[in-house]
């Protein structure tokens, strides 16, 4: 049976959420109202630049929002998952579950 053609939205979704760090960021934000840059960095043990790049991609897609502010003299960035991002994460989980169900049946 030929594979169903992917819609444009699915292809974009694949590229964005499939990557490990981005998937981790979205999973972590799904169970926390907000997490700071440092909290995410500590969770995934990635460099500042690497985390910034991944977070920016998710921000550009509208999956997460970042609020920047000063706590005293220190600049802080806090991230939240948007409803669109939550929906994308759930859709990705559904895909994974579907794959597991299909391969178990096979």
């Amino acid at each position: 049976m030929p594979a169903a053609p992917r819609s444009g939205e699915d292809a974009k979704f694949d590229r964005l959420v499939y990557e490990r760090v981005r998937l981790g960021i979205m999973s972590a934000l799904a169970v926390n109202e907000q997490l700071s840059f440092n909290e995410l960095k500590a969770l995934f043990d990635v460099s500042d630049g690497n985390l910034s790049a991944h977070a920016r991609k998710l921000e550009e897609a509208g999956y997460i929002v970042c609020s920047k502010f000063f706590a005293g003299r220190r600049p802080k960035s806090e991230y939240r998952l948007t409803p669109v991002g939550r929906k994308a994460l759930y859709r990705y989980l559904e895909h994974i579950e579907a794959v597991i169900r299909a391969t178990r049946r096979a």
Binding site: S27, V31, N32, Q34, E39, L43, I96, I100, T103
Partner: protein, 209 residues
């Protein structure tokens, strides 16, 4: 051809399972509050000091005041040590997992504070040690759900022992109350503080290798 398809199926299946496990691990790590063993040890030391003070015959009448002051000191020290651990990791002090940890602890502790006042006013202060141990155990048990899987069972076991000590305290005669408070807030904190410290050290060594 058939073998190849079977191999692909296994690869896709294990990749999908691996992804699910990764998501689960990320969620667990993001939802867990790190509890340093030193917090338990310090709180246990304060509990031991309170036990010794309250066992001095001249001070025995002030046992409740001694234990209330000890509770305030132990809470402040425990909170400061958890805050220090979070700030060392560059983490916000009262956000995400730490906030959930405090919110889990708070209701039983608040109930304990109200009950202490009610029992004291009703002249039933003999029931206070049991209520303290029981409700503190409930607080620890519910907060254990917000800790990392590595220490969750240990903290849960400590909470269960506090609950059992609380139940026992209701049945024990008055003269045993200071001892059982010491065994709970002193000894249990000390022993589990050491055990949690060992688990945490083992974990960080694992990460470094």
């Amino acid at each position: 051809m058939c073998d190849m398809r079977s191999n692909n199926t296994v690869a896709i299946h294990s990749h999908a399972l691996g992804t699910l496990n990764y998501i689960r691990a990320s969620i667990e790590a993001a939802g867990a509050c790190a509890v340093p063993g030193t917090a338990g040890i310090a709180m246990g030391a304060v509990g031991m000091a309170a036990t010794i003070l309250a066992s001095i015959p001249e001070l025995a009448a002030y046992w409740m005041a001694i234990w209330l002051i000890a509770a305030a000191i132990a809470s402040a020290v425990g909170a400061a040590l958890i805050a220090r651990q979070r700030s060392r990791g560059g983490l916000t002090l009262y956000s995400g997992p730490a906030r959930k940890f405090v919110l889990c602890l708070a209701p039983p502790l608040l109930a304990g504070a109200v009950l202490t006042g009610v029992l004291w006013q009703a002249g039933e202060s003999r029931l206070v040690p049991g209520a303290w141990l029981l409700l503190y155990g409930c607080a620890v048990l519910s907060a254990s759900m917000m800790t990392s899987t590595a220490v969750m069972r240990l903290i849960g076991a400590m909470g269960t022992l506090f609950v059992l000590f609380g139940v026992a305290a209701f049945e024990l005669p008055l003269r045993w109350h200071n001892l059982i408070l010491g065994l709970g807030f002193g000894a249990l904190h000390l022993v589990f503080g050491v055990l949690i410290g060992r688990v945490n050290r083992g974990e960080s060594a694992e990460w470094q290798t």
